[in-house]
């Protein structure tokens, strides 16, 4: 009889402990539900990168970079990354190479079209080309069906008149700056 009583008491004590334990656990956890709404916006971005064969760009990796040819002349030395593909009696051309990378996300588009234009009319005695396309203030197509997510090299040519300053040639001895606008449009 006593043995039975002890067994019952042990069982009761164990049940009480389990209940206490369960109660304690329930008091240290909480659950909740957050209804998150994700709007997946697609888009593309454009950045300029330094090409190994070209001048080192300022602010490379951004969409507002600078390319400095340094001192250029028909016969004198040129900066690293600048070449002189041609010299004629009328003009000479200096060239550098820069990369454009366009990254897309959330689009089914696999290619883009690159256009460019001068922000303002070219300075006297100078003209600018990207991949042999002479730039004006009107937008012109540079490349169609360009691939995303990779650096694509482009030639930037500066064609300089050999005429003297004041006779149709450019100003000499001082930096001349021009801004080129680029636009990438997903195809």
């Amino acid at each position: 009889m006593l043995k039975t009583y002890i067994s019952i008491m042990r069982g009761a004590a164990l049940a009480a402990m389990l209940l206490c334990g369960g109660s304690a656990l329930a008091q240290t956890t909480a659950t909740g539900v957050i209804n998150g709404v994700l709007i997946n916006k697609n888009g593309i971005s454009l950045q300029f990168d330094t090409d190994p064969a070209g001048v080192t760009l300022g602010a490379a990796g951004t969409n507002a970079a600078t390319a400095n040819f340094g001192a250029v002349s028909a016969f004198g030395p040129l900066a690293a990354g600048v070449t002189r593909p041609s010299v004629t009696a009328a003009n000479f051309t200096v060239r550098t190479i820069f990369d454009v990378q366009v990254i897309q996300g959330g689009l089914t588009s696999t290619t883009y079209t690159l256009t460019a234009n001068l922000a303002a009319a070219a300075p006297t005695g100078l003209s600018y080309k990207v991949d042999a396309v002479t730039l004006t203030t009107a937008s012109q197509t540079i490349q169609t069906n360009a691939g995303y997510n990779t650096d694509i090299a482009h030639n930037l040519d500066l064609v300089v008149s050999t005429a003297a300053p004041g006779a149709g040639g450019p100003a000499v001895g001082a930096p001349i700056t021009t801004t080129i606008n680029f636009t990438a449009t997903a195809n």
Binding site: A64, A67, N68, L156, A163, G166, G169
Partner: protein
Amino acid sequence: MRKVVLLTIFAALMMISSAAVAQTTANGTLTVTATVNGSIQLVFNSDAAGVALTGSGTNAATLAFGNVSAFGAVGAGVVRTTTATNFTVSSAVDVQVSKTNSASANYTLTAQLGAADAVNAWTVGGTPVTNASAAGQRNRYQQHH
């Protein structure tokens, strides 16, 4: 009610269209800077009346007089004068200097021997030249001499 629904749909379409256009173009600006400097270039050209140069049209040419003597035969393009004390052989050579991005109207040409010559005397355009100092004359651009 119907108008309100139509307007709502129209507005939604406009927003979608606008968003689609804005999201599929990207812009960038590349600012290009260069400093143009004037420059000149000198090249040697073969003269029609002189010895044909090796490396004509460059700034490192070679003029070979060939065999020379007071009385023997001389090569094509070589002219000789002989006196009792010496003889002179000469050849015409053209120097062309081109200029760019400069208002300069002429240039001064100087010359000197690369090494001393204790035996022979040299002149360019009638001006004696030695290895000691450069002798020069004023010339106009784009002209042959």
